[in-house]
């Protein structure tokens, strides 16, 4: 291989890795947490109510009560969402948009239709916050594009990393601990080579999830719009258009009963588009079964669609059956690989660990960048070199330690914010970003090594004491959750404690290093 080629790939790997590594670390850490979004949502939400499963008649009655409530409060919303109780959720959850386009949520008692007070709900985005951070940084379409660009940069960094790595096989068995930069490079290489197939898969499948956003050229050139394309792809009739003519809705509970019969399983939620319009569309989504995803990659729990005004059946996605042709199946398998909806908990754990190793890969790469420049002061930015290197160090701290701190702080914020707060879920997310944002000035004001261990140490403290704050604020204790077999709640705290121990060890090592070395790493 020509040295020139390796040289340019090394440059690309270094600088591309640095600039996008800051973002990619956040994407990896929130994506890893997002693997367990349901367990985190369970932990963050209200205490699980021990409600018996609703009978078919009770579900119909619940939907009737939900419709009555929505007709009174949300007549002009462009959509209604009705989630039936189940899977640890005791309430009937209604969603709609108000006059200014803000998403609104109400909880009802499923048997009486009485609205449940907000204080009983601890309204929170829960684990979905991490999923939304992961794919759009909570920044809408712009965030989706930014994450997409970073994902392309990740693939470029992975391939250029393999190119610059001359002795890829031999070095995989090499680890020289406590040898400074050498050890960081060994760790970086081992993390990268060990999980290379996973990182390539997760990056490419991540792009494929949003292929119609990222690469719409072929769709736009051959179809009138995305709706027509999707109809052709799924071989189903089009969605009814909004008519602008008011038409009464058929009783939703009747459509629910028909939908459940057609699906052959219980419904999980209903979505109405353009309620009250002659073109209203009702979609009834099936509830996933425990055995879904054990035998197949692409899990489909079924959708039955009806015209809301006439009850005409529009289409049916049968549960367990693949849709469309080979290309669609290929895309769906890649999406399934990304979302790990198959294989149950063993696979989720494998993804969680692989994702964290990916985060370690990025963090060690960022640290290596700065370690090299501390020792070899090349004036790559002329007179500004020292201050630019200092800024890069601080950004490394905020991008790695700062986001870790913000993630665990999010769990604390969830427990400390008053449950009656208006827009509580939005407040949680704003405070998450506030913690992350504050980590940068802190990193700029402190010497680098000190900033590293202070932020990691605080994150460790918050992780280790998470069971404590939960016990104080909710009265629920880790041991009690374990005793009653609530694996989701206990699991969140056990993982937090395990990660806390790891971070505490790391922070302690860094602190010791700082003391021993009399702060030789300070760059002012």
């Amino acid at each position: 291989m020509k040295e020139g080629f390796r040289h340019s790939m090394a440059w690309l790997h270094t600088w591309g890795g640095l600039l996008f590594g800051w973002l990619l670390f956040a994407v990896f850490i929130t994506g890893s947490l997002g693997v367990f979004d349901e367990a985190i949502s369970r932990w963050m939400g209200p205490p699980a109510q021990a409600t018996a499963a609703l009978s078919s008649e009770q579900r119909m009655e619940a939907v009737r009560l939900a419709t009555r409530h929505l007709e009174q409060t949300a007549a002009h919303s462009p959509f209604w969402g009705i989630r039936l109780p189940g899977e640890g959720e005791g309430s009937l959850r209604l969603a709609w948009r108000d006059g200014v386009g803000q998403l609104r949520i109400d909880h009802l008692d499923p048997l009486s239709g009485t609205p449940l007070p907000a204080t009983a709900q601890r309204e929170s985005d829960g684990g979905h916050h991490f999923v939304h951070m992961h794919f759009q940084l909570q920044a809408g379409t712009f965030g989706i594009w930014l994450v997409g660009l970073a994902t392309v940069a990740l693939l470029v960094a992975l391939i250029s990393g393999v190119v610059v790595h001359k002795r890829i096989f031999k070095d995989f068995f090499t680890f020289r601990p406590a040898k400074g930069q050498r050890s960081w490079l060994d760790g970086h290489n081992a993390a990268g080579v060990l999980t290379l197939p996973f990182q390539l898969m997760i990056a490419y499948s991540g792009l494929v999830v949003f292929y119609d956003t990222y690469m719409p050229a072929a769709i736009a050139a051959n179809f009138h719009d995305v709706d027509h394309y999707e109809q052709a792809l799924l071989e189903r009739p089009g969605r009814p258009a909004r008519q602008g003519v008011a038409a009464p809705l058929l009783p939703l509970e009747c459509l629910l009963a028909v939908g459940e019969t057609r699906l052959g399983r219980e419904a999980r939620f209903l979505v109405l588009s353009a309620p009250g319009d002659a073109g209203a569309l009702v979609r009834i989504f099936g509830r996933p079964l425990a055995e879904d995803g054990q035998q197949e990659l692409v899990v489909n729990s079924g959708v039955a669609a009806f015209k809301g005004a006439t009850g005409e059946a529009l289409w049916l996605e049968e549960p367990g059956l693949a849709q469309g042709g080979g290309a669609l199946l290929t895309q769906q398998v890649m999406v399934a690989l990304h979302f790990v909806r198959f294989g149950g908990y063993p696979l989720k754990w494998l993804y969680f660990v692989s994702g964290l190793v990916g985060a370690v890969l990025i963090a060690t790469g960022l640290v290596l960048f700065s370690l090299k420049r501390r020792k070899r002061q090349t004036p790559e930015f002329g007179a500004a070199t020292a201050s630019i290197h200092r800024l890069i160090e601080a950004l490394n701290v905020a991008a790695v330690a700062g986001i870790s701190l913000a993630c665990i702080a999010f769990f604390w914020i969830n427990r400390l914010l008053p449950t009656a707060l208006e827009q509580r879920a939005e407040w949680e997310i704003s405070l998450f970003f506030a913690v992350w944002a504050l980590s940068l000035p802190h990193a700029l004001l402190r010497p680098p090594l000190r900033a590293w261990w202070e932020q990691l140490g605080l994150a460790a403290l918050l992780c280790l004491t998470l069971p404590l704050i939960n016990a104080i604020t909710t009265g629920d204790q880790l041991l009690a959750a374990l005793a009653r077999g609530d694996g989701a709640r206990a699991g969140v705290e056990l993982v937090a404690v395990a990660i806390g121990l790891l971070l505490a060890w790391l922070a302690w090592q860094l602190r010791r290093r700082q003391r021993l070395a009399m702060e030789p790493l300070e760059v002012h």
Binding site: G4, F5, H7, S8, M9, A10, W11, T14, W15, L149, V152, L155, V156, S160, P177, A178, G180, Q181, S183, W184, L185, Y204, V208, Y211, Y214, M215, A217, A218, A221, N222, F223, H224, H228, Y229, A232, L233, G324, G325, G326, A327, T330, Q331, M334, V360, A363, T364, L368, K372, R374, K375, R376, T378, L449, L502, L506, L510, R512, R513, A517, L521
Partner: protein, 118 residues
């Protein structure tokens, strides 16, 4: 993860060797570097998009299936284009090498009939 070591080891520069821009650029001005980055991001994207346009009209599949099958590999083309953009010495050649085939593929795709409904 290992501890930070302020490092008594010599700087081993087997990897990540030099902060110099790609293409053996000894003191290349930033303008050339920015042009290369723009070529990689924009030119690479246009090449990938054009490849999906052409492939969608060539694949012997049902219309929507052909569109999807043509779009899925375009991300690999994008990644390959970015790598190539940093491996070539001459920035002008990078722009030409990305835009000429992109334009050619887009033109041929336009001459072929649309596969989907109008």
């Amino acid at each position: 993860m290992q501890t930070v070591n302020d490092g008594m080891t010599t700087p081993s520069s087997r990897q990540l060797q030099s902060p110099a821009p790609a293409g053996r650029g000894r003191g290349l001005p930033y303008g050339s570097l920015l042009s290369r980055i723009a070529a990689a991001i924009l030119g690479g994207y246009l090449l990938a998009a054009a490849s999906s346009l052409l492939l969608a009209r060539l694949l012997p599949l049902a219309p929507a299936e052909a569109v999807l099958a043509a779009t899925l590999p375009s991300f690999a083309i994008y990644v390959g284009a970015v790598l190539w953009a940093f491996a070539v010495t001459d920035v002008g050649r990078v722009w030409r090498g990305l835009l000429q085939p992109a334009l050619a593929m887009a033109v041929v795709a336009c001459l072929l009939p649309s596969v989907g409904a109008p």
